[in-house]
Amino acid sequence: MSKLSFRPDFHSRELYSLDLPVEVLRSNLTMETRSFTSKTVDVQPGTYYVTAKLPAGQELTGYVQVAEGESKVVSLKLDPSDESPHETEETQRYLWGQMGYEPILERLGGDETEVKFRAFEGNILKTDGRYKAIRAKNWLKKATRPQPPGVYEFEFNTAAPRLAACTLLQFLQPDAPAINIVLPAQKQETWHIVVSLQPDETYSLDVYLQHKAADALLRYCERGLLEQVAVMATSQALEVLYLKKEDPIAAASAAYVLLRLDAIEQPGKRTGHWLENLRNWFPWLPDGAVACGEYLARKGRHKDALAAFLELSERGLPLFSDGLSYAVNRLKLYIGTEDKHFEPEQISKAKTLLQQLQRVLTYTDFHKAVLTFKGVDPNRPSNQHLDDAHVQKYGGIDLTTLLG
């Protein structure tokens, strides 16, 4: 046997520390093995072509000939056309797919356009529950304007035990609807939010998880790179779910990936129990209840599943769009079968909950993994576009000077 290890050709430490899925192909292009850039693999002597796809879709490739008993390091390089112009842009380009945009024309004269963040607390899934605006100033910990142009990074910390379980961050800009993101306040969590200028000169908003492997999984999913998702699901996603106490939000995102691939059941692993623990140990986390509910439904345990979904009334909106989708589909199914299987009280609660969730679902951007919905009043989601006057009249953190 021979051994291969891998060295991705990155410059930034953040990228270098990321454990990427690799494919080792034989000369006839069939698969020798799949592994990770951090691992060493045993292979038969021969010639191999190694590829590793980045979360933003670019590909690292390397070529190696290895003799019996030999150990070689495969250098994995990007095609020159994909190379980042600056080391500082590697994360934005290769992990997030943010290539940057700079307006072609510069404005002669002043610009009074305001762009803002606002914060809310509350739970619209509770009977008579409402989101109320709160001071957002203490949440913003850091604002940076790295390369590439038009991409701005913000770090928020929502940890504030005095607040209700459910908090929400809102982004306001003229000529577009307000964008809302659910960020729970019960977890000491730094939220990495990226605002990027689009060619239509509106800003888009993306949330990135602190847990790098979980975040990479979400990006692979968003881009339909299912081979990479599958490789990561059976090792890293399971590990993230197992280590849920370290990062329950990452664990919830991993649980959704495993559900999407129908890879929850793994030989020798008590993954069903892990999901139940994710639900029970973190009562502030809506997605623990949803992921567990979906798992129970697939096991045919529909009464238990409905009970899990109904916990959303107390926990609030899921953090992930997959969670909203699973909850709505199952609740609709169960409501349609009300007489035969469930208690009338459960069905009545399910109807109320479904009604509330559907209000949000209609305005949800399902392209985003993190639940993102539109509406300047998060209690009444809508597509209403804002104008300058609208944005100016609301309080919140004015980002105009930060965005330059």
């Binding site: 691939l261 096991k299 997959d322 399902f366 392209h367 597509n383």
Partner: protein, 403 residues
């Protein structure tokens, strides 16, 4: 006639499982502007289509013509078509080939399809819908049938939900039943929600199947390939075909091919759930660039890896070559040899035009690309690449001729 292909008796005699397809395409909407029926007062911004019935027909033809590539023998195809006059003029075979895709016909066809699927766990099912659609969530969309928006009842009465279809095809809570465990769904429709629909959160499409709860959902694979991500539109070339179906066929013809080695060392090529997922967007992006659309496919259901179809030959792979710097293009000469140093068959033009230059080569060998400069130029020594192995659909390579 709905059942346009039926090989059930033959397969039953041999005790074999089979593939059961339900394909529906709606272009002619009776109650939308320009339709043959009574016009509804509200059209929700939708009109007649000219490409979706023919897309469904081409899907049906693809299955018939490629039976040897399918994972199982083709057992049944149920086809529902509501073609536009323009489509019938273009493809006369559409005329009278199948029942129209009304709600009643759809419910009957779906029930029969489900019964057939429920005869053997090894069966495979395929569902393809092309027509108007609206969003209901990440894993759900509403499929609008020919008689959508007719008078009486809910606005969505003559429509069905993919979620209801998907849950209804789950293995039943009765061990005597034998539902197909491999199911493929292709939803070739828009997934945006017209503003006026947003006032009707509780509008209910007609259930396709009775709402019985499933048992343990042990489907081997049940991916849903949505032609568009939610809140976006799917597009088609008028009178021709949907962009999604064009991309899908390119993938199935080899663009999503991957080699697999069997236990005897024989290398076969197949299309899998994952390889299709990856290649679909490559072709959709080609159309997006050509027609200015922004279509992105979306994943739903249970995206578990399995073979969708086989290939009967090694697919071609496209290599897109870009000379850098562009000033060197006129004097750049390309040589392509295989891993044994043999020149690759097929003439490579002296001038790599149009630039970027596209080269199609079989995907089963590795290639070395060399770019020399003629006449020699001290600023541009040329490019000598390492061996490249390229999986379909394509690879872009920059031939950097500067040091």
């Amino acid at each position: 006639m709905t059942l346009v292909h039926d090989d059930r008796d033959n397969l039953a005699q041999q005790g074999k499982a089979g593939l059961h397809a339900l394909i529906a395409g709606v272009s002619a909407y009776r109650h939308l502007p320009g339709g043959a029926g009574r016009q509804a007062s509200e059209a929700f911004g939708m009109g007649q289509l000219t490409s979706t019935a023919i897309t469904a027909y081409k899907t049906y033809r693809w299955l018939l013509d490629n039976q040897s590539k399918l994972p199982l023998p083709l057992a049944t195809i149920r086809l529902l078509l509501s073609p536009s006059p323009a489509e019938i003029a273009k493809e006369p075979a559409l005329n009278g080939l199948a029942e129209p895709c009304t709600l009643d016909n759809f419910l009957t066809a779906a029930a029969d399809w489900r019964d057939d699927a429920n005869t053997n766990k090894e069966n495979v099912t395929l569902f393809y819908f092309a027509g108007h659609g609206i969003q209901r969530g990440k894993d759900d969309s509403v499929l609008l049938l020919e008689d959508f928006n007719g008078r009486g009842g809910d606005h969505l009465r003559n429509s069905v939900e993919t979620a209801n279809l998907f849950f209804g095809m789950a293995p039943p809570n009765n061990s005597r039943e034998k539902m197909a465990r491999t199911q493929f769904y292709f939803i070739d429709a828009c997934r945006n929600l017209p503003e006026k629909f947003k006032n009707f959160e509780e509008m209910t499409p007609t259930p396709v199947f009775s709402r019985e709860l499933s048992g343990r959902d042990d489907r081997i694979s049940a991916p849903i390939f949505f032609a568009a991500i939610s809140d976006t539109a799917a597009h088609a070339l008028p009178g021709d075909q949907t962009l999604f179906s064009k991309a899908l066929f390119q993938c199935l013809e080899g663009g999503a091919g991957r080699p697999v080695e069997d236990e005897n060392g024989q290398v076969n090529w197949h299309i899998s759930v994952f390889s299709l997922g990856e290649a679909l967007q490559v072709y959709l992006d080609d159309y997006n660039a050509e027609f200015g659309s922004d279509q992105e496919w979306g994943a739903g259901g249970q995206m578990k890896q399995t073979t969708i179809c086989h290939l009967d030959k090694v697919p071609d792979v496209e290599i897109i070559l870009e000379v850098n710097p562009i000033a060197a293009l006129d004097s750049a000469r390309l040589q392509v040899v295989d891993s044994f140093g043999n020149p690759v068959a097929g003439a490579i033009p002296k001038l790599l035009a149009p630039h970027p230059f596209r080269l199609k080569l079989p995907a089963n060998v590795s290639y070395r690309l060399t770019c020399t400069i003629d006449p020699p130029n001290p600023l541009w020594p040329g490019y000598e690449g390492t061996l490249v192995q390229v999986l379909p659909p394509r690879k872009r390579r920059v031939l950097k001729v500067v040091p």
